[in-house]
């Protein structure tokens, strides 16, 4: 199985994602340049965190029009696995691959800290190695992570079980206090209806080695590998 990590101008978690795939998960991985419009036979494409195009206009708004994004949209429509982390999630929202939008954090601050998220849906290619309601400790690092969607949109997300992660406390309780940024319904990560596109604000690539304070991020990468290499069933 081969992963691709896209580099946009301003991406800064690209090497973290690359390193986790190569050294921890031990699978093939290649960097993909935003202007190349090539996905190089990758089986899973990662849109990493960072500040693509300086976050000008809106987060992800300019990156969405880069050459490679047309390929990513086609790839996703054909069922290819796509993961957007933090700024990558914002780009997926702007591209229309995932529903909703990001607002400024209610505190208006850049928040960089470990948070806990509950696995709301374990039946996805990205969470199949997790238990339902499992609590993962993974850090966030963003200013615009306050997820918003219309009432009807939220209803659809719930009905289709597209909510994958929700912010919770250490015990797994979903509380207002455990919500770091004001996200609607404590939403930390969602997938599309087809379950092949995931967007999440927490950074699993920053929590895949014990020395970094948590290995819980590995569940996401290992789930993807397991899904792909064991007959694509969740």
């Amino acid at each position: 199985m081969k992963f691709g990590v896209i580099i946009f101008p301003g991406s800064n978690c690209d090497y973290d994602a690359y390193t986790v795939v190569k050294d921890i998960i031990k699978r093939d991985v290649e960097f993909l340049w935003h202007q190349d419009a090539l996905l190089a036979d990758c089986d899973c494409v990662i849109l990493p965190g960072g500040f693509s195009y300086g976050d000008y206009l809106r987060t992800g708004a300019i990156a969405r029009f880069s050459s490679i994004m047309k390929k990513v949209v086609d790839f996703a429509r054909d069922g290819g696995l796509v993961v957007g982390i933090c700024n990558g999630f914002q780009i997926l929202l702007e591209s229309g691959l995932l529903p909703g939008a990001m607002l400024r954090n209610t505190s208006l601050r850049f928040i960089c800290k470990f948070v806990h998220i509950e696995v709301e849906n374990e039946n996805t290619p990205f969470t199949k190695m997790c238990r339902k309601d499992q609590v993962l400790k993974i850090p966030i690092a963003h200013t615009d992570g306050n997820y918003f969607i219309s009432d009807e949109g939220l209803k659809r997300l719930e009905q289709n079980q597209q909510i994958v992660f929700r912010y919770c406390d250490e015990q797994g309780k979903i509380t207002k206090e455990a919500n770091p940024n004001g996200s609607l319904y404590n939403i930390a990560g969602i997938c599309n209806e087809k379950r092949n596109v995931l967007g999440m604000m927490p950074h699993p690539e920053r929590a895949s080695e014990e020395v970094l304070g948590s290995e819980d991020g590995k569940y996401i990468f290992q789930s993807i590998v397991d899904f792909f290499e064991k007959g694509k069933s969740v």
């Binding site: 809106r58 708004a61 004001g182």
Partner: protein, 87 residues
């Protein structure tokens, strides 16, 4: 001035839709209250863009600016816009 070199200026105003939480607007409102201003009922933040473009692009200026607003300047999930075209 020959016709082709005539240019128009559009001013686009973008703000969050009513009902969408505006953390920046609320913070500014609280600051105003702390400064002693009374009777501030609401503050909504937004963005302004000025676009200067050549006329005679085959599209009506209104249509062109509207298209730009929809495609790039706003995210319809959270934002709304209006604009004026100045000659």
């Amino acid at each position: 001035m020959d016709k082709e070199s005539q240019s128009s200026r559009a001013v686009v105003y973008v703000k969050l839709k009513d009902g969408v939480l505006d953390p920046q607007g609320s913070t500014i409102q609280r600051a105003l209250e702390n400064m002693g201003y009374e009777g501030i009922k609401d503050v909504r933040s937004g963005k302004t863009f000025e676009i200067v473009f050549q006329q005679n692009q085959g599209k009506k200026p209104e249509d062109l600016v509207d298209e730009i607003c929809r495609k790039l300047l706003t995210n319809p999930v959270i934002e709304k816009y209006n604009f004026e075209i100045l000659k």
